[in-house]
């Protein structure tokens, strides 16, 4: 066994394993299509791609710019992977841990059928916090991004800067305990490639301690400041695999439920109500923040939700397709401290 040093070697190894698995699946006709990533046209970008031919397998890419949660493509508003003659297609999904979690969670909500899916598991090593690097580079054009050892090297005209990957990883990736897709033993044919059995997840949630220590007034100011640049383009919603409603609450127009402007109250209503809908459902992929054109970081909200659900219901989303998410389920022993006690 060769010791793997450096991001580039690590990514190359993951990538070549993934390509071989994908080639095998298409060759043996175990899947009709594969959803994966391909090289982007800009530095620090990748593009989702759907392939159905063996010769396209070498287009598949793995590196630390594979931000999008590919599970999203399985829950479109209009059914997509259906052949008029064959019926539902069998879909292979290149899946890092959070994509695997999203698929399993979507199965628990009856949105997808795991019999029709093959998870091509990737032992994910995290994605870059693109916005943070862009903001630190500032008003200069980034022309090339490469990896050297454990550093991300960013080059442009007249500048070159190295960022240690451990520090400039997406915040959720830093906390991630589920790097490979979770194993679902009931579906032995569901997985190829990396997958892992996770008994119980232990998480201290240290990363949000600073936010939690703030006073209510400070928290409110922090949230308003963080969301103030929102243009309500809904990239966060559209990238989220859990946002699959045919008509989002915010788009309700007969009558209009909520204001549609970019006034602060309307922005807050959108983000906080969406957050409520994510409780016990968010799979911590961080796609919402990574796709935001304005660079808003929603992770602190997602982490806080995750913590509440973990503490109250000892639930981690996306591990088991047979356990209903707590907000969909009722148990007699559920804590109800908000109810008035009967004397």
């Amino acid at each position: 066994m060769v010791m793997i040093v450096g991001l580039e070697e690590e990514n190359k190894e993951i990538e070549s394993n993934m390509r071989e698995l994908a080639r095998g699946l298409l060759k043996e006709k175990k899947v009709d299509v594969i959803i994966g990533y391909k090289k982007g046209t800009l530095p620090m970008m990748s593009q989702p791609i759907i392939i159905d031919k063996e010769e396209d397998v070498d287009k598949l890419l793995w590196n630390n710019t594979c931000y999008v949660n590919l599970a999203k493509y399985l829950v479109p508003r209009v059914a997509k992977f259906v052949d008029p003659e064959k019926g539902n297609l069998k879909v292979g999904v290149v899946a890092k841990g959070c994509v695997g979690r999203a698929l399993i969670h979507l199965a628990s909500e009856n949105r997808i059928n795991l019999d029709e899916i093959t998870i091509i598991g990737i032992p994910c090593n995290g994605v870059i916090n693109r916005q943070r690097i862009e903001m630190e580079i500032g008003e200069k054009e980034i022309l090339e991004v490469t990896a050297s050892g454990n550093n991300i090297v960013v080059k442009g005209k007249n500048f070159e800067k190295e960022f240690p990957f451990d520090e400039y990883m997406n915040e959720l990736c830093k906390q991630c305990k589920i790097r490979s897709p979770p194993l679902v033993s009931k579906f032995p044919d569901l997985h190829v490639g990396a997958c892992e059995e996770y008994a119980s997840i232990v998480d201290e949630f240290d990363d949000i301690a600073e936010f939690e220590a703030k006073s209510p007034e400070e928290k409110w100011a922090y949230i308003q400041d963080a969301l103030s640049v929102c243009t309500r383009c809904y990239a966060c919603r559209e990238a989220c695999p859990m946002c699959y409603c045919n008509l989002c609450f915010v788009d309700q127009n007969k009558p209009i439920w909520f204001g549609k402007t970019t006034d602060m109250p309307d922005i807050i209503v959108y983000h906080l109500i969406r957050a409520m809908h994510m409780a016990g459902r968010c799979v911590a992929c961080g796609a919402c923040s990574l796709v935001c054109p304005m660079g808003i970081d929603l992770n602190f909200i997602n982490r806080k939700l995750e913590k509440i659900v973990k503490q109250r219901f000892d639930f981690t989303s996306g591990l088991d397709p047979d356990t209903l998410p707590p907000m969909t389920d009722f148990k007699m022993e559920d804590a109800e401290e908000f109810m008035l006690e009967e004397d």
Partner: protein, 353 residues
């Protein structure tokens, strides 16, 4: 000599001189992003920037605009007209692509008998100080849409960045009025003008993204039903980053917000986007653009086919914001490539026949 020089260190002097007369908008950094904001202190003005994240379009056509407010007096509804439309605006540091976008917005807001008073009044009262681009980005392509990194169209005063100072050129009467007030500007020398011309040429030669849009328009007109649209829409997630950051997108929605308890209300307009599932949704429930395919197609057709046929110019200024903003990298260059492939395939078939 007509051209003047403005030292970068004198920007605050310029601001203080005109701030009482104009609402002064300039590039400012807000939470890491450059945008055109109302400036209250010259220190806020950011001079070192490639281009703003949100285009200066939103100064004249903001994302949310109150068209009028109203209140009830007994049973009567009294309309409170806006009084701020007479304010003089000054937009400082607009890149040539964005300045040209104002021309396209005028096409739309002054189309035929539909004259949009709110926009047109503001446009009339706005003085634009443009600034040449010395370093176009790889995603920039203004030279392909009839623009240029030093194009002066739609600007009143035009600046060239010569290092520590700007060369100031007066373009229109409005610009002349403004420059006249700045009596302390020094005269430019012939060498400065030459330097500006050299920078313009250098910038022009540095473009890496180039398109043949005449051909694109022709192919688009003939391929509305082509299966290529399926391919183009495949990875699109249907967010509105591309349209909300576009300097030429003009679609809006009008909403009446009635505050019944306080006996008042307002009519507002907000940006709409062809990428939304509500866009062109009819009251009957029918939507002629129900899926991503039609929505992606609409954006491209609107800019490169409908605009040329309605207004005789492309509906794009080549700023490249949509290229950079797309969260799934389904960007314009790839889309245009796919569209042009249709033509190449047809040519190939003809050659083989």
């Amino acid at each position: 000599m007509d051209e003047k020089l403005l030292k970068k260190s004198d920007i605050s002097k310029l601001f203080n001189e005109v701030k009482d007369e104009y609402n002064f908008y300039a590039p400012k950094k807000v939470r890491g992003n450059i945008s055109f904001e109302l400036i209250s202190d010259a220190k806020e003005i950011e001079l070192d920037y490639l281009n703003s994240k949100v285009p200066p379009k939103d100064v004249l056509f903001p994302q949310k605009e109150t068209i009028f407010e109203y209140h009830y007096e007994g049973k009567d509804v009294i309309i409170d007209e806006r009084k701020d439309l007479e304010d003089k605006l000054l937009i400082f540091g607009v890149r040539p692509c964005d300045a040209y976008s104002f021309k396209l917005l005028e096409d739309f807001f002054a189309f035929g008998e539909f004259q949009d008073d709110v926009f047109l009044k503001k446009r009339e009262n706005a003085t634009i100080i443009g600034i040449g681009c010395n370093e176009p980005r790889q995603s920039c392509f203004c030279t392909s849409v009839g623009g240029h990194p030093y194009q002066k169209e739609s600007t009143d005063v035009f600046l060239s960045d010569l290092g520590d100072y700007y060369l100031v050129e007066t373009i229109t009467e409005k610009g002349k009025d403004l420059v006249k007030k700045l009596s302390w500007l020094t005269d430019a020398k012939k060498g400065d003008v030459e330097k500006s011309k050299a920078l313009a040429k250098q910038a022009e030669e540095s473009f890496t993204t180039k398109f043949n849009f005449d051909l694109v328009t022709k192919v688009l007109d003939e391929n509305f039903e082509n299966p290529v649209w399926e391919e183009i829409a495949e990875s699109c997630i249907g967010c509105s980053s591309c349209t909300f950051l576009c300097p030429t997108c003009t679609c809006f929605d009008v909403i009446d917000e009635n505050d019944e308890y306080n006996h008042r209300g307002r009519r507002i307009r907000i940006w709409d986007t062809c990428q939304s599932c509500l866009y062109t949704l009819e009251t009957s429930g029918h939507n002629p653009r129900p899926e991503k395919i039609q929505r992606c197609r609409n954006r491209i057709m609107h800019k490169f086919s409908y605009y040329p046929s309605n207004y005789d110019r492309l509906g794009c200024v080549g700023c490249g914001r949509c290229i950079v903003a797309c969260p799934v990298n389904n960007e314009l260059r790839l889309i245009i490539d796919k569209i042009l492939e249709i033509e190449q395939k047809e040519e190939g078939e003809k050659a083989n026949a």
